[in-house]
Each structure stands twice: as structure tokens, then as C-alpha cells.
Symmetry: T
Subunit: 168 residues, 12 copies
Amino acid sequence: MKIINQVDVLATPSDLDEAGREKVCESLNELVADLFALYVKVKNYHWHMSGRHFRDYHLMLDEHAAQILANIDPLAERVRKLGANTIHSISHIADLQRVKDNDEEFVAPKDMLIDLINENKELAKNMRIAHEQCDDIKDVATASLLETYIDEGEERVWFLFEASRDIA
Amino acid sequence: MKIINQVDVLATPSDLDEAGREKVCESLNELVADLFALYVKVKNYHWHMSGRHFRDYHLMLDEHAAQILANIDPLAERVRKLGANTIHSISHIADLQRVKDNDEEFVAPKDMLIDLINENKELAKNMRIAHEQCDDIKDVATASLLETYIDEGEERVWFLFEASRDIA
Amino acid sequence: MKIINQVDVLATPSDLDEAGREKVCESLNELVADLFALYVKVKNYHWHMSGRHFRDYHLMLDEHAAQILANIDPLAERVRKLGANTIHSISHIADLQRVKDNDEEFVAPKDMLIDLINENKELAKNMRIAHEQCDDIKDVATASLLETYIDEGEERVWFLFEASRDIA
Amino acid sequence: MKIINQVDVLATPSDLDEAGREKVCESLNELVADLFALYVKVKNYHWHMSGRHFRDYHLMLDEHAAQILANIDPLAERVRKLGANTIHSISHIADLQRVKDNDEEFVAPKDMLIDLINENKELAKNMRIAHEQCDDIKDVATASLLETYIDEGEERVWFLFEASRDIA
Amino acid sequence: MKIINQVDVLATPSDLDEAGREKVCESLNELVADLFALYVKVKNYHWHMSGRHFRDYHLMLDEHAAQILANIDPLAERVRKLGANTIHSISHIADLQRVKDNDEEFVAPKDMLIDLINENKELAKNMRIAHEQCDDIKDVATASLLETYIDEGEERVWFLFEASRDIA
Amino acid sequence: MKIINQVDVLATPSDLDEAGREKVCESLNELVADLFALYVKVKNYHWHMSGRHFRDYHLMLDEHAAQILANIDPLAERVRKLGANTIHSISHIADLQRVKDNDEEFVAPKDMLIDLINENKELAKNMRIAHEQCDDIKDVATASLLETYIDEGEERVWFLFEASRDIA
Amino acid sequence: MKIINQVDVLATPSDLDEAGREKVCESLNELVADLFALYVKVKNYHWHMSGRHFRDYHLMLDEHAAQILANIDPLAERVRKLGANTIHSISHIADLQRVKDNDEEFVAPKDMLIDLINENKELAKNMRIAHEQCDDIKDVATASLLETYIDEGEERVWFLFEASRDIA
Amino acid sequence: MKIINQVDVLATPSDLDEAGREKVCESLNELVADLFALYVKVKNYHWHMSGRHFRDYHLMLDEHAAQILANIDPLAERVRKLGANTIHSISHIADLQRVKDNDEEFVAPKDMLIDLINENKELAKNMRIAHEQCDDIKDVATASLLETYIDEGEERVWFLFEASRDIA
Amino acid sequence: MKIINQVDVLATPSDLDEAGREKVCESLNELVADLFALYVKVKNYHWHMSGRHFRDYHLMLDEHAAQILANIDPLAERVRKLGANTIHSISHIADLQRVKDNDEEFVAPKDMLIDLINENKELAKNMRIAHEQCDDIKDVATASLLETYIDEGEERVWFLFEASRDIA
Amino acid sequence: MKIINQVDVLATPSDLDEAGREKVCESLNELVADLFALYVKVKNYHWHMSGRHFRDYHLMLDEHAAQILANIDPLAERVRKLGANTIHSISHIADLQRVKDNDEEFVAPKDMLIDLINENKELAKNMRIAHEQCDDIKDVATASLLETYIDEGEERVWFLFEASRDIA
Amino acid sequence: MKIINQVDVLATPSDLDEAGREKVCESLNELVADLFALYVKVKNYHWHMSGRHFRDYHLMLDEHAAQILANIDPLAERVRKLGANTIHSISHIADLQRVKDNDEEFVAPKDMLIDLINENKELAKNMRIAHEQCDDIKDVATASLLETYIDEGEERVWFLFEASRDIA
Amino acid sequence: MKIINQVDVLATPSDLDEAGREKVCESLNELVADLFALYVKVKNYHWHMSGRHFRDYHLMLDEHAAQILANIDPLAERVRKLGANTIHSISHIADLQRVKDNDEEFVAPKDMLIDLINENKELAKNMRIAHEQCDDIKDVATASLLETYIDEGEERVWFLFEASRDIA
């Protein structure tokens, strides 16, 4: 991915280092793809939840999905503000996503929770990596957004982890 | 796709004809896939919009995207209420979607509008077909939802069509 | 009225039958004209109400007027989405309206109620006819709107009818 | 039940066929009675819920009760708009209700869920029958209300069914 | 009715005298039954109101019905908090209710008002008796709820009484 | 009443003519007294209303009372901003009020309406006189407030007048 | 138009000069007719807008229409408060309106804007004339309403004028 | 004051002892008069406040005035529900009020606070006496209202007392 | 604890018996200490909840904590209005609290529920004792607050008790 | 300043006298400059407030600043509607402002209040002069806005004056 | 304090260094204890405030208390997300708190302000230290929360400092 | 600018290094001056916008202006919390501002957009420099605010840049 030289005639849209911006934008686009894929997975589990805890988990996953979706637009727009292009399509997402699709007809509730613990942990870790790249090029605005999203990701891990434990 | 016999022990969740339900559910899952793919495409154009009308179209496409997203959950849950499974993943969407991905780095604003006229027209037509299938099996609840979504689709076509005309 | 061939170059805005659309649009424009004329009549009675029930009926008619006005924009926009033109002016309304103007300086409260029972009944009947035309051409989106408006019209008839009865 | 000839002097409140209206009104009054009886049963279970899922099910049943109660007024008022009388009393409800009273001192949570699955399924089926009667006499306004209520009933079945399954 | 010994293993849910609680709970269940029956009667009159004051009384009775319904849940839950069972079904209501059902096809508006004056007066009186029983066993929480509900009942009597007087 | 020379040391709080301000302030204090007295009278009739229109008139008079009360604070504060003192007490009101107290135990509803027509007409007339005094000294801020209050007073006259007419 | 002598028995509803009121009421009724006609024209253009600025102008005209509609009720009620009758019907509007109907099938966007500049300028001028008539008879309440409406009219002229200029 | 025998023909509006009700109503009317008089006094001080604490005390007194005014309507309506008449006029207030009018042109801020401490203390004491009278006749609804108002009165005393102390 | 003689110069803030107030204030301060300690305990369990019901109980305990916290300020301010001092610090709480601290690193969910049943029962009992002390000195304002808080405490007991039962 | 002849081709945006408009616009631009300068001064004092009344005055000045800022946009837009240009920059403000800048490092609270009394009095006087100029050319829309702003200015003077007095 | 190895079977909840997490969690728990202790102290002063500024400071301290309380839950939950345990009880708070309890019966207002300046300064400093520890282990989510809380603490210091200065 | 030694007697309001704070405060005051100057410039263009995109750009610039204004108060208050003085007046702004005033009578829309791209880019760059200074002295609270404001500035650049491109 290359920073589009959209500023030839007028003015560069950013005073940040161009090479650094390219690297950050690549990371952000991967995160956006992951967030889309995770959103679909969480909705998948939200729709196919079953068992005595149905309503409780169905609601929890809907809250998680809403939280995840709300991360997408600000990150994608950060890419645009940094002068690069962002996600275009389902196939673009499929190319970049690190979240693993799960097309099983049936997944037991506890397995859903465990799968999502791992996905959210991975997401938080990747966001932390992107945060360091932002630090490197002094892109404090993107970094600030990621700080909140990392906290949300860690909160989802905590909720899912505790809910997956067999303690009466 | 097969209606899951989840009602062996307890009770069938629906008094509607099983074969008809299978057919309706297949159509609904295709629509859900289309809505996801169209959502991503509309956000794509929302993010990569350019030109003197930038803010006006950027806002319009965000409204369209929000409207499209809001169609997904009720339709996917209709599939579940009819006793079948719905969308699981990005790859599942990629398999079923009829919306065409557009991964061009640059699309001119007017070309975006024209592309979306066609996608939304196609979507409304496919919703109308699903509506007739619902009518056939007396699934009036799904049909009622589709009536509103068809109107919304036709409204998007109208807005996009008028905005794409070169009249001063 | 003819469906405007606004789609020569680009694409037809609708997959519905053109002749059927023309017929539906004619009915809808007559309804829009009726709704405008009824709105003015109800406001007329709202402004010229008198007698011991003044406040009660004054408020009821204002609620009816607001409800009637809110039917206009969605129906007129349905005409546009179907590819035709809608109402242009006061004289256009005067040409199409079936609601009868009442320019009397003084109308007794009970006579106002009876007049409006008849107008609203007629309106509901005409909406039902338009609904059948929509059914004929599978325009389920317009039909769905009319279902709600027919219920509102029948509610106004009920309220007005009961309020016009001399029972202590 | 007979359509009251309340329109002798003034005007018939409806252009729909009288015999058809009688039939629809009978069905609607049975539904109103069922909704009242189901409301009491759901509140019964809401109040007497027990076990580790207490709060989750207690809240779910309160949501279901609120949803059921909200169906009553519009359907009863449809009967009035069609020119007939509707429910008068507890004994009237007792005469017409098809929902089975359960006066057990103790009902296990899972048995509550299973009982309600069946009641809601039956309710949805009876609403679908009433919907067909509306279709027969072109009473599209009542039909439109029922479409939403059937969806709600099917949603309650889905929630209750999933929550009653013993899957960890 | 007997206080359920649900606290064998764990702990008594209340430090109040058990015999006194039984007596209070019996009174509260009768009140809950009365409130349900009165709710249906008020809705009955709300639906079958007629005459020149239709809208005014139709709205007043809807406000009364909403107020009455809102008394039910807190009182029924008080019974549960005191360790007893509460209302289960329509037939349970029919057994306990002191409100008299009125299944007349037609009731004149003024007769409706007079009937409701008496029912509401009786209700307030019965609530006052229950209040004294609460005082006897120091159940101040239930008493406090009843104080507000008695005021509401007396307000309904006042409104209905004044509205039933033939003064110009 | 004299303009308090509170500005000896610091600065005159107003560039308006002092004699003119005195005259305006006297008029405003009389209006404030009238508004208080009318507020009590309207609440009196609100509380002692009777007859078949009870709820309708009871509500109307409460709306009028609220509207009248809302006039008091801004006018009293205008007096303070103009450098004079305003109303102090019930006896001060009694001294200045032109509204006539009515301590009858029973007043028929229609007589209440007619009494209030006259009081509100008188109030509007007195406000118009005060408005002219404001014009004379260029106190446009007070004048602007009075314009709205005169309209409200004339609206109350209209409502009360129409409601007092014996037209069926 | 003549001031109705509705006050024979009771009391004149106004202390303003009767001849002056007649004159003001005539002007106000013409304004009400103009506002209705302009409302329809603005909605006409709102519905038939086209071109690249479609959404922007479609929204602007809807805001203008809402603003215009909100002027009607207060002015018509001023006529009633002054003791005269106001608008009764579509034909009454047609008789009094000075706004020119435009029934063209197609109007270019810029021509719409220019047409509306002229209509709104004319409206503001006519409101200013009515304002002077109010001043003449000391009807400060009507005058105050018109001041706000004139500002709104001038704001619409400004928006439309700037939007009609061909400046890049 | 005598309980009006308004229930000759229809029904007594209350099951409470008539003599006791008379006594309670007399006390309530005195309280209503006191609340009106105190409201005017608090507004008096609100308008004539001065000194470095102007804004702080001006706001505090406005909050107190709003709280006092909100006590009036429920208490006056309690009198009506108990079958007696309540306050009619400014002169009626002047007859019954125990609050002392203060018509001084200038009152120092601290003297205002001290005066209001005493008035509010006296009010709370009189409310407590009325509460005991309610207890005597089992009028628990009035008693419940007074409990909240006594707390508000004691809060005003606390605020005013602390604010009047010369502690730095 | 002694009632502070803060009223030497000005006026006693209360007409209630001083010795009785001392006793009530001691009880209230113990309750405030208990409420603080219980708030911390409930938050402790809210934070350290685990197991399949994690989210359901985590939310329930947060609702309980919010309810408990909301009792503190009004009770502490009652102490101040009665002329005494209230809670100052963590060590003050530690001195007065009867709630038992639980510093275990791990507590099983069910043990948390059982612990809280007991704490809330004890709290309700202590509030009932304080209520009787208020009755003894006619402090109806404090008593009224406690009535609501006792109901809340009993509701928490009920929720916790039912949730702790092993019924499927 | 000259009225821009922006209406050559199309239409004059106003029926008001051109010379008069020029004069009014000059006054309005001076007022806009004063309002900007006063806004900065009030924020200055808001930020640098000190002393025991810190919070009270800090909040009061923030309310004043918000009120002042809200006057700017409507007045500047009035200039545009009258066909002239308005404020462009900080230096433009500096040229036109009559408010005196105060760049002292430290200003005592009382001196801040006294300074603002004078500035606000001056502002109100200048607004009154502009109001007369509007009257002269019949620009009633601008005049109406100024009436409200003058009242606000006089209110600020009153608050500041009373707060600056050394009365205990 | 040790990071609980709750992730043996499933997965570590965090990719951050374990030793670093332990250190951060210890700091956070001390902060949570301080916030609880400071909350009680601020409420203490809120309840025992006195003097002419009573209402102003009483309100300010309530705002501060609410702000402090709102810091607790997010910080305690950060500890849980990092895999450690947080505060359990009043005695736990007493062990960890660095805020000094003040159990004086009487504290002069100014002394309250000065005490709180110091406590808040100390709190901000300790938060800054915790922030550096977060930086060291790349826990950007906790750091981001602390940044806002430090600003709030510094704002409280500023308000309290300015309010404690004796400047007229 | 020097840090005011306001803490001689009491306590330093900050534990941060004094020299570093001076430097940060200088930067912040320059930013506050820039934000004021940019606010005026954006309003200037908002008021003098013209051309076919008038409404779209007029609204966009109003949103930008509101966003810019909202940055001022928090940054100015940061300066105060750090112990220094902030902006005092229009002339103070003029001294410090780096934004260039543009007093041209006419600026073409596109030139407005290009001018604002440059100003906002410069602003974002200067905020980034201030952010680094904050980092140097560990003033994380100021840094956190700037992170959000930099993102907003970059968003304005992006919107303005895209809207200035001549792409159809």
C-alpha cells in the first residue's frame, strides 16, 4: 500500500513522516479487516446461541458486536486522514483478516466463549503493536483512539473468560 | 440448507410448512449476505468519496449504510425463528453475495452513485422475490419486514439516481 | 399521467410493470390531493370550532390534521420512486381532490363531526382501492404504507362517529 | 356476536363486508382474551421464577409480558373500528380464552419455559388464522398489525426454546 | 394460603411475624385480583365509550387504566418478598376478585362513571384495611406503597364524581 | 414608588429616562399583582370545577394557570432591572390587584368561564397600556415581553369564549 | 370580511378598534393563503428536485417547507382571536393566494431556486405591510409574530440567492 | 368549613369519618394559605436579594420557591378528595395565612435568611400537627404527602441556617 | 453523640424532642456506616464474580450497589437536619459498621449470594428498628425515607435468595 | 461599508431602503465586534477569577459568555440578509470594537464585576441606538432580535451590580 | 499481591509482562483505596459545611465527590482485566489508603478547602506515578484512563485553591 | 510569561517541573490565540459563503467553528491549572496568533477551502509540537486533550481537501 500523492497541487495533508504513515496505515487496515470479521463472527454466535444461558449470552454478544462495529469507522477514517486508502470490499476483508472464520453448523455455547476469548486477545495484542507504530511516528491521534479500543477488547476478554469458567 | 430438527423432543417452533421455510430461509440468507456486502461497499465509497460534493455525498452514504446495516439483524433472526441457520462468517458472505466487490483504488463520485443505483435496484428486486416466497408459505411476518426494506431500497435508488443526473 | 422516461441512459429505477405503475401513481396523486384538501378542511374546523366542547374537539381535530399531513410526504415520494410526477400546486390539488370544500361562515360542531366522518370514510375506501392496485402490480412497499394510513382513517371515523352521538 | 347497527341514522363506519367483519371480530376477541390470559400467566411465572437463572428469566418474562400487553389495545380497538363489541370482563376472558390456566403452587423454571413455548406457538398460529380471515375480506389494516404481532410471538418462541435446551 | 417455607436451608427472608405476613398476603392477593378485574372493566368502558364527551372520557379512562395496572406489579412482588405466592391465572383472579364484572353490550357513559365511582371507592376502602394490617405487623414497606395507591384511587373517585354531575 | 438610587457610587444601571421608568414600574407591579391574583382565581376554579366537562375544563384551567404564573417572574425582574422594587407580599398584592376575588362556595362551570373571559380581557387591555408606556420611554425589552403575554391573554379569552357558547 | 358579532350577549373579545381589526384580518388571511400555496410549491420542488445537488437542495427545501407551515397556525389563530373568520378550503386559498402556481412537469434546479427567491421576497414584503397595519391599530401581539416570520423569510431569500449563484 | 354533602344522590366519596375529615381539611387549607404566602415572600427575597452572594442566594431562593409551589396543588386537591372546599382567592389566603408579610423596601441578605429559617420551621411544625390529625382519622394518603413536604421544609431550614452563620 | 447546640443564637432547627433526635441520629449513623460497608462488599463481589452466570450476576450486583449508594446521602442529610453530625471517614465507618468485611481472595458465586442475603436481611431489620425510633419521636420524614429503603432491601433479599436456589 | 450589488442579474434581496440598510449594517457590525471583544473579556475574567466566591462567579461569567456568544451569529447573519458584509477577522474586530481590552495580569474580583457592569451597560445603550435605526427603516426583524438581547444585557448589569455591593 | 493464575487451563488474559502487571495493579489498588477514602472525606465536608458560602461549597463538593466516585469502577476493573484482585472491604481500604481521615467534629470551611487541596494534589501525583508504571509495561489502556483522572484532580485543586484565597 | 507564585502561603498546585510548565503554557496560549483567530476566520467564511454549494459548505464551516471553539476553554483552563495566566483580550490574541487574518470583501468558495486546509494543517502541526513539550515534562493530562484535538484538526483538513478537488 502506498500513500496516495493527492497533495501534489495543493498541500500535503499531514506533517508526519510518509514512510511511517504507510506502515501505520497497513496495520490499521488489517485491524479494520479483523474488526469486520470479528463483528460477523460475534453476530454469528449471537444468532446461533443456545442453552439455558441463551438470553444472557445473546445480549452480551450483541453488546460486544456493537462495540466492535463502533471501532471500524474511526480507524478507517484515520487511514484516510493519513493519506492512504482503506478497506473496499468483502474480498478485501477476506484477504487481510487474521480472525479465523468458523462455519460450523453447531457450536456449543462454551466453545463460542473460548473462541472469542482468543480472538479478542489477539485483537488487543495487534492493536498494541499498531499503537507502538503510531508512537514511533508521533501519530498521537491514532494512538489515542487505540488506547480506548484496547481497553474495550480487554474488557471483552475478561467478561468472556469469567463466563466460561465452571464455578457454581 | 436444511431446517434443523431442533424440535424433536420439545415442539416444532413453527406451524409453517417445512419445505417452504427452507426455501424462504435460503433467500433470506442470500439477502443477509448481500446486505453485508453492500454495507461494506457503501462504507468504501463513504470513505473514498472526493470532489466538490464530498460532504453531501459522504453523509448520504453514511445514512444509506446505517439503513442497510439495520436490515441485517431482523432478517437473520427471522431465519432463526423459522428454524434454520444463518450467516456465519466473511467467507460465508463471500459465497452467497450477489453484490459485486469493487476494489479499485479510485472511483469517481458519479461512478460510485451509478454503481450503487444498480446494486440497490438489484437488492430491491431480490427482496421482492423473497417476499413472494413468503406469501406462498403464508410467512406474513417476514413479508412485513421486507415491505419496509424494499421501500428503503427504492428510496436509495431515487436519491442516487437524481444525484447522478447532470442538471444545473 | 405518464411514467417519465428518466432512465433512458442509466437504468430503470424500478423492476415493476410500467403500465401498472402509471395506474398506481394516478391513484396516489388523487390521494395526496385529497389529503391536502382534508388537511385544510380539518384545520378550518379546528379554527372555527365553538360550543361547550370547544377545547376537546379543537385538540382532537389538531391531532387528526397532524396525522393526515404526515401521510402526504411518504405517498408523494412513493410516486417519485415509481418514476412519475406528483402534486405541483394548489390548482393541481383543486383539480384532483374528491374532498368537498366547505366555505360556510358558520358550521355547528356536530355538523363538522358528521362531515368529517363521511370524508374520512371515503378516504379510507379510496385508500383500500389503491391498495388493491398495488397488490395487482406487486408494489408491496406502497401497500404497506397504505395499511397503516387506512387504520388511522378508520380510527378517525370511530372517534368522530362516537363523539357525534347524543348519548348522555 | 353481531355487528351493532350503530350507523342507522348517520353512516356505516366501514365499507367492508358485514358478514366478513363479524367473523374477523370473533377471531380478534378470542385473540384479545388469549393475550390477557397469557399476560397473566407470564406475570405469574415472572413472579414465581426461581433458581440460578432467576434474574435473567425474571427480566425476559417481564419483557414478554410488556410485549403481549401492548398487543391488546390495538386489536380491541380494531374490533370497535369494524363496528363490533370487544372484551368486557374477567369472566368474558375466561369464556373465550384458549390459553390454559396453571394454578400450581410451584412450577420448575424449565417447565415454565416449555409451557410458554407451546402457548406462544399456539397464539402465533391463531393469529395467522385471523390474518387469513382479514385477507379474505380485504381488512388490510388489521392484517398489518397482526404481521408484527406474529413476528413477536415467534421471537418469544425462539428465545424460550433456546433457553430451555440443556446445552453447556 | 400459607407462607412457603422456602427458607429451610438458607435463611428466613423476613424478620416479620409469620402469621401476620400470611394475613397481609391474603389481603394483597385480593387487591391484586381486584386491580386486574378493575383494569379490564376500565378498558371495557374505554373501548365502548360513546356520546359527545367520547374523546375526553376515552382518554380519562385510559389514564385510569394505566394507573391501576401500575399498582399490580409492586403489590404482587411485595407478596413474594413476604414469602408467599401471588396470583397465577385468570381463574385465580375470578376466584378472588370483589370487583363486579359487567358484560352488558351497551352501558351509557354516565352509568359507566357511576359504576367506576363505586368500584374505586370500594378499592380505596379495601386498601385502607390492608394498610391497617400492615401497620399491625410493622410491614412499613407495603404500607408506604398503599398510601400512594389510596391517593390515586381517591383521585379517580373525585374525577369520576365531578364528571358525573349534571351541572352546566 | 421611587427609583432607588442604588447607583450613587458605581453607575446608573440604565440609560433610560428616570421618570419614565418610575411610571412603567408602577404599571408592571400592578400587572404582577393582577397575575398573582388571577393565578389564584384560576386555580380556585380548577379545584372547584364540576359537571360533565370536569376533566376538560380542569385541564384547560391548569394550562392557563401555568401560563399566567410564567409571566410573573420576567415582569418582576424587569422592574428590578429598571431600578425599582417589585411585589413583596400577599398584602401588597391585595393592595394593587384589580382582579376581583370570588370567594363563593359554589360557582357553576359556565359562570367560571364567563368570569375568566372578563378578567383575561381586562388583563390584556392593561398590558397594552403598559406596552404604550414602554414605547414612550423606549423600553423595548419590556415591550417585547408584553407582546407575547398579550397574545397569550387573547388566546385564553378566545378559548374561554368559545367554550362558554351553548352550541351543539 | 366582517368581524363577526359573536360577542353580543357576553363581551367583546378585544379592546382594539373594530375597523382596524377587519383590515388586519384581511391581510392575515391573504398571508395564510400565500403560506399554504408556498408550502405546496416548496414541497413540489422538494419532490421534483434533480441534479448533482439533489440531496442538499431536497433537504433545504424540506426545512423551508416546515418553517413556512409553522407560520400558518399562529397567524390563522390571531385572526380568530381578533374576532374574524380565517381560511376554509383549497378553493378559498386559490381565491386569495398571490403566490403563482407552477404546474410544469420539469423545472431545472436553478429555476426552482430563482422562483423561490421571488416568492419569499414578495412574502416578506407583504408581511411587512401587514406589520404596519398592526402598528396602526396597536395590535402588538400579531406584529411580534410577524417580526420573527419576516426574519425567516429573509433568511430563505439569502440561502436561495447564494445557492443560485454560479461561483466555484 | 363544612364537608359539602355532594354525595346525596350518588355515593359518599370517602369511607373516612366526616368530622375528622372536616378537621383535617381546615388544617390543610391553612397550610395551603401559608404555602402561597411563603411562596410570595421567598420570591420577594429572590427579587430583592443583594450583596456579594447575590447569585448564590438568588438561585437558592428560586429553588425553594419552586419546591414550595409544588406542595400547593397536591394538598389543595387532597381537600377536594376529602369532600371539602379549598382556597379561593388572595383575600382568602390573607385570612388564613400564619406567615408574616414583610413589606420593607430593603432587607439585608442575612435578615432574609433568618426570617425564612423561622417561617420554614413554623411551616414544618404545622405540617407535623396536620400529619397527626391525618393519623387520627386514618387518612394515610394525605399523611404520606406531608412526610415528604416536612423533609423538604427541614432541608430548607438546614440550608438557610448554615448559610446564615458567620464562619469563614 | 450529642446534638450540637448550633442554634444558640438564632433558633432551634427542629421542634422535635432533643433526646429522641439523639437516639435516632445514632441509629442513622450506624445505618450510613453499614450502607458504605455493604456498598464496598457488593462492589467487591461485582468485581470478583466468576462462572457461567458472570454477566447476569455482575450486572445484578451493580444495580444493588447503585441502589445502596443512593440511600446514603438522604439518610446522612437527615442526621444533619436533625441537628447532629454524621459519618466523617473510613475509620469512622469501620467503627460503626455491623456489616462483616470479607477479604477472601476467592469467593464462589453462590457463597457471595448467600452472604449478601444475610447482610441485606440484617440491614432491613436494622432499618425497621430505626423506623420505630422515628415513630416514637414523630420524625415522619425520616420514617418515610426508610420505608422505601426497607422495600429495596427486601427486594435484594428476594432476588438473591431465588438466584441462590439450585432449581433447574 | 457599501451594500454589495449582488442582485444585479437576479433580484434585490430586500424591499428596504438601501441607504438605511447601510447605516443599520454599520451599527450591527460594531455590535458584533463589541460582542466578540466582550466575550473574550468575560472568558478572561472567568479564567482568572479568584477569591472565596470563585466558583459562584466563575459559573456566572461562563453563563454570561455563552449568552453573549449566542447574540453574534444572528446579528451577523442579519447583516448578510440586508445585503452587506460582516466581520472578517480578529483585526477587523480590533478596528471596530468599543469594548476596552484589559490585559492586566491580576484583576480583583470586585473590579472585574464593576468593569463588566460598565461594558454591559454600554452595550445595551448601543443596542438601543441600533434599535432606533432599525425602526427608522422599518427593519422590524432586526429590531425584534435586539429587544431580547437588550433584556439580556440589562439582566447581566443587574446581576453584576447586585453582586458587587458590600452588603452582608 | 500476585497475579492470579486464572488462565492455566484456558488462556492468559493478557499479552503484557506479568511482573509489570503486578506492580501496576498494586499501584491501582492503592489509588482505588485513596479514591474511596477521599470520596468519604469529601462527602464528610459536603455534609458538615457551614458559613455564608454554604450552598456554593456544598454543591462544589458534591460535584467533586461524584467525579471521584466515577474514577473507582474503571480503575478497579482495569486491575481485574490485568489478572489481579482488587479492593474487598472497608478494612482493605483502611490498610491501603494514603488519604488521611479527619474525624474532627467541626472543621472551618477554609480549612476544609485547604485539606482537600493537599489531598487532591497528592492524588494527582500518585496517579502520575502509576501512569509512568503503565508506560513502562506498555499498558496504554490504563494510562489513557489516568490521563483524564489526573486532569480532573488538577481541576479540583485549581477550584479549591482559588476558592480558598482571601481576595475580595 | 512566568508561572505566578500563587502558592507561596498555601501549596504549589502542581508537582510538575516549573520551567517545563512555563514552556508548555506559552505554547498553549499561542494555540488558544490561534483557535480564537481561526474561529473568527471560519465564521467569516461561513457568513460570506456563496455559490451552488452554499448550504453544504455553510453548514460544514459552522460545524468546524463549533468544534474549534470547544477546544478553547479546556486548553485555557489547563494553563490555569498549571499555574500560569492565559488569554486576556482581542489585542492579546492579535499579538500571539499565527493564523493569518483575511479581510478581503470577496473570497471564492474554493479559495476559502484551500485557505482553511492550510490553517488547519498548521494548527495540527503546532498542536503536535505542544504535545511533545507536554511529553517532556510528563504533563499527560494536557497531552491527552491535544490528542483528540489533533484528530479533529486532521479531520477538518481531510474534509476540506476532498471538497476542494475538482472531480465529478
